[in-house]
Symmetry: C2
Subunit: 354 residues, 2 copies
């Protein structure tokens, strides 16, 4: 068993973990490990927003264009295609791409074919919305967790390695304890989001600045391999409660520090849904996320039913679960919304009428 904090990221502590050194977690989980040379990663969410079935074809074509650009030099090491319908009834398809080298991302992003397309005023008048939410946490600022040591998702895929079984999990607060920065920093937020270009509304190109220590989580599950009782447990017992929690965050999250929540489904390259989903949310702080997770009835119920679930199945799960959590410095965030509705992503709650 080892710490979630990789050897080269350990430092003298000024803050304690929530558990003692003899703590033994109830079941195994793993983290992705990156080579020491990896100092920062990039998580790019490239979205297309549309409304109604008649726009679906154009939106899909735009998503394909974005995904094709990933094949250009310095493109991402991994990407997913995903979809959800937001609270305003818009379809949002997002190509999520990961780089283990921010310089490569910067070069890719500056590729004329990519850069010109995103900067073009045509994007404002095609009847579609587009957005880029780019998080680029340094390795001290994020953690990953998987309940299997293989077939990683998300940033784990581009990190390239896997830890041994982790000690810091299975207790509230373990998420924080897995982030290297928690050794010395409470990761308290400061400042506030700001509209730094445009105005949150359709027809606008809007840039949002994130403040210090915005927390971001992608927390997912894949039920492809589940069968019988386990599949029933997931689909009939856990998923409805999970959805209830996701809906709460989407609709009422702002009041508790959740800027944006999307409950997304993976798509295959043809746009058909896969048996994989995840919640993607941005928070004012890791503490706000912790407080919700620990006290909101839906999340407590999710946690309780998961603990029951893994014990009922004697820890032999076919359900795959994982998450990646980042606490982002202001300079690790970049948000751009092009012809999107005012409730989109990090704009949520920033329009004057909101």
């Amino acid at each position: 068993m080892e710490s979630a904090i990789d050897e080269h990221l350990k430092c003298p502590r000024t803050r304690h973990r929530r558990v003692e050194d003899d703590y033994v977690p109830p079941y195994p989980v793993w983290s992705a490990r990156a080579p020491v040379a990896v100092r920062q990663v990039v998580m790019g969410y490239f979205g297309v927003q549309s409304r109604g079935a008649e726009m679906q074809g154009r939106a899909c074509a735009a998503l394909m264009k974005i995904a094709q650009d990933f094949a250009l030099p310095d493109g991402p090491g991994h990407h997913d295609l995903t979809h959800y319908v937001d609270a305003q009834g818009f379809d949002n398809m997002i190509a999520i791409a990961y780089w283990s080298d921010p310089a490569a991302y910067a070069r890719w992003c500056a590729t004329p074919a990519v850069d010109a397309w995103w900067r073009s005023d045509e994007r404002l008048t095609e009847g579609l919305g587009y957005f880029r939410e780019i998080a680029s946490p340094r390795v001290e600022h994020f953690e990953t967790m998987f309940n299997t040591p293989d077939r990683f998702e998300g940033v784990g895929v581009v990190m390239g390695g896997v830890s041994g079984e982790l000690q810091e999990h299975g207790y509230w607060g373990s998420m924080r304890d897995r982030i290297p920065l928690s050794q010395t920093d409470a990761m308290a937020p400061s400042g506030s989001r700001a509209v730094i270009a445009g105005a949150p509304a359709p027809g606008q190109r809007v840039r949002i600045a994130g403040h210090e220590n915005v927390a971001m989580i992608r927390s997912g599950q894949e039920w492809t391999d589940t069968t019988g009782q386990e599949r029933t447990l997931y689909l009939q017992d856990m998923e409805p409660v999970l959805r209830e929690g996701m809906d709460f965050l989407r609709d009422q999250g702002l009041g508790i520090g959740c800027y944006s929540n999307r409950y997304m489904r993976h798509l295959d390259a043809q746009g058909a849904p896969l048996q994989k989903s995840f919640g993607l949310s941005y928070w004012r702080s890791l503490a706000d996320m912790e407080r919700w997770a620990e006290s909101h009835p839906t999340h407590v119920a999710i946690f309780g039913s998961f603990m029951r679930y893994v014990q009922a199945l004697n820890f032999q799960l076919q359900l795959r679960v994982y998450h990646e959590v980042s606490v982002l410095k202001a300079d690790e965030q970049s948000y751009e919304y092009i012809n999107c509705h005012a409730g989109s992503g990090l704009m949520n709650g920033l329009a004057p009428s909101a």
Copy 2:
């Protein structure tokens, strides 16, 4: 809003709380407050153990004798009469008494009528078991919490005062954060329980020494004033889950660090059950208690259903809940078992056959 840690018990921290200074709990709770002159309290559990209906009368008479002695000079400021049936099928009636002055307790305990009765060899041959479990935490070593600022229970009654609304509650880890010692100490356990007189078996007078930082909790609820939906919610939804958790700790607690658990019902002076109950348990450490509370499906379910419950009732509860939690130094514990079965209280698991 104020800290659970009373002003005169605050000290420069070497360890952080789990929440930031701007944390706002979801509903109000209060702590009992004692005058500055109170430096240590005594929680005395005086038990009578019997088996079968035919011994019930004698057991009740013994309990009454114990309770009558509380009226002697230097007796406790408050006491409860309680009952439960243990895993071995024995009835256990316990008179629980509280002193806010350990010197008064010592004088009371040394009163010839009290001292001689407990020391008499007759106690070994009456067909009943007797026990004394005495916890005497210094004020830095325990905390209390009540969901109403009136009608306190347990040690709160003898402390005499009440705090304002507390900040440290409603999150996992708040129990630890309410204990003054947590400002500077992880409260890790050391040493182990030891049989220091007799041998755990009927017919024996057994003394058990507790080790450093044994954690003890009395966590109770009163449903007397509940009506309608709330009463149904408690009795049909919460109580069965609570009982399931209590049974788990009683029967399988040792494996996770729970030395003893009793799910007890209050009795009135005539021995009739009141609508008040509590769990009383002793643990190897506060961390072990935390781990169980946070991960065992029954307790997570209790917590989740309580959060749902208070929100469904818009925080207007008639259900009264409270707890008192102590982390006991070795010198703050004294355990004596007289003609009790080997699974009783802190003897649990210490008999050679166990």
